[in-house]
């Protein structure tokens, strides 16, 4: 259960940024390994790429693009917070980052199916 003092939008924005960052950090080694197969083992790369037609993998890709997009837009918000003149609309900006991430990942998903 989320402790009461953490139950507010900017703490959730922090948690989402941290979780998406960790998720991407775990994904990247697997991603680079798979890309490396193009050089070392093209046949097995093709069999992995065939997996991408699986509906479950498409949903997972949607999740991945969402993590990437929400980390990207959330990171822009944090850089703006730390480097640009202060804006009091941090909650709206955090909500905007999530909305933009849903837009990007949703568009990706609709293109993929």
């Amino acid at each position: 259960m989320i402790r009461p003092h953490r139950s507010h939008p900017l703490w959730f924005a922090f948690a989402l940024h941290r979780v998406s960052g960790l998720g991407l950090a775990l994904f990247l080694p697997a991603h680079f390994y798979l890309l490396s197969l193009a050089l070392t083992d093209p046949v097995s790369l093709d069999s992995y790429l065939a997996l991408a037609e699986n509906p479950l993998v498409k949903v997972a890709e949607f999740g991945l693009v969402f993590l990437l997009a929400v980390h990207f837009f959330g990171g822009l918000r944090l850089m703006a917070l730390e480097w640009l003149p202060w804006s009091g609309r941090q909650k709206s900006l955090a909500a905007g980052a999530v909305a933009a991430a849903f837009f990007v990942s949703g568009t990706f998903f609709l293109q993929a199916v």
Binding site: R3, P4, H5, R6, H8, L10, W11, F14, L78, L81, E82, W83, W86, G88, Q90
Partner: protein, 240 residues
């Protein structure tokens, strides 16, 4: 249980640990959380330890965790925070407990000094008083932080303090930002050096709990962002 009775859980113990004790407290109009705690101490258990002084939101001594959230108890109406008929009162987070609801606030105040939150005079007593233009941007910025009452609510709300015992915390950093913008303070570089080391402003994760719970509606998150900009600008200037 009648509607005019509150179920109150109060944390009892000391630095070695403790547990919650339950009390029934008569509900009254305009009753504050501090009134509830005082009623228990005066009618149920005179050994209950807690701290307060002014009862009007000026002294900053009565902050406690109320239903898991840090609040100034003297200005918090219990009816506004009730969970059903229940309210839980515990000592502030992130500070050592002395006994029951009274925490040791020394680490909190020590960090004010560590953050260079002390006045660095620019003149002697023989000089004329520095004229301060209240409309100047720096003064307007400093004015946003001067109503801090040192209640430690922001410090108790901050998870960065929980994770890093050296982190100076929102109140001390906001104090540093206020002095940094004060025309009467002579040593801005000392302030920037004090807030940019280990435990300084760059530890802040901008979770914003400090700003959300500050009872005086100050904005330490904004102050810390200001310090981040000022320390970064100073770093690049000095490298030239």
């Amino acid at each position: 249980m009648g509607r005019d009775e509150l179920d109150v859980s109060i944390w009892r113990g000391d630095a070695n640990g403790g547990r919650f004790e339950d009390f029934k407290v008569p509900a009254q109009d305009s009753q504050t959380v501090l009134d509830v705690v005082s009623w228990v101490q005066q009618n149920e258990d005179p050994t209950l330890s807690y701290r307060y002084a002014c009862r009007v939101g000026m002294c900053g001594s009565c902050a406690m965790m109320v239903n898991g959230v840090p609040r100034w108890t003297c200005r918090t109406h219990v009816k506004k925070v009730l969970d059903g008929q229940k309210v839980t009162v515990a000592p502030l987070r992130n500070l050592p407990v002395i006994k029951d609801l009274a925490t040791d606030m020394d680490p909190f105040f020590d960090k004010w000094v560590k953050a260079a939150g002390v006045h660095h005079p620019s003149k002697t007593r023989d000089d004329p008083i520095e004229a301060v233009n209240p409309a100047s941007p720096a003064r307007v910025e400093a004015d946003t932080g001067i109503e801090c009452i040192n209640c430690s609510v922001c410090y108790a709300a901050c998870d960065t303090v929980t994770g890093n015992a050296d982190y100076l915390g929102p109140a001390a950093l906001q104090r540093a930002w206020t002095l940094y913008n004060d025309a009467k303070d002579a040593d801005q570089q000392t302030i920037l050096d004090a807030v940019s080391g280990n435990g300084g402003c760059h530890n802040c994760h901008s979770q914003g709990s400090c700003t959300l719970y500050c009872p005086n509606e100050l904005n330490p998150m904004k102050a810390i962002a200001g310090l981040k900009r000022a320390t970064a600008a100073s770093f690049f200037k000095r490298r030239k």
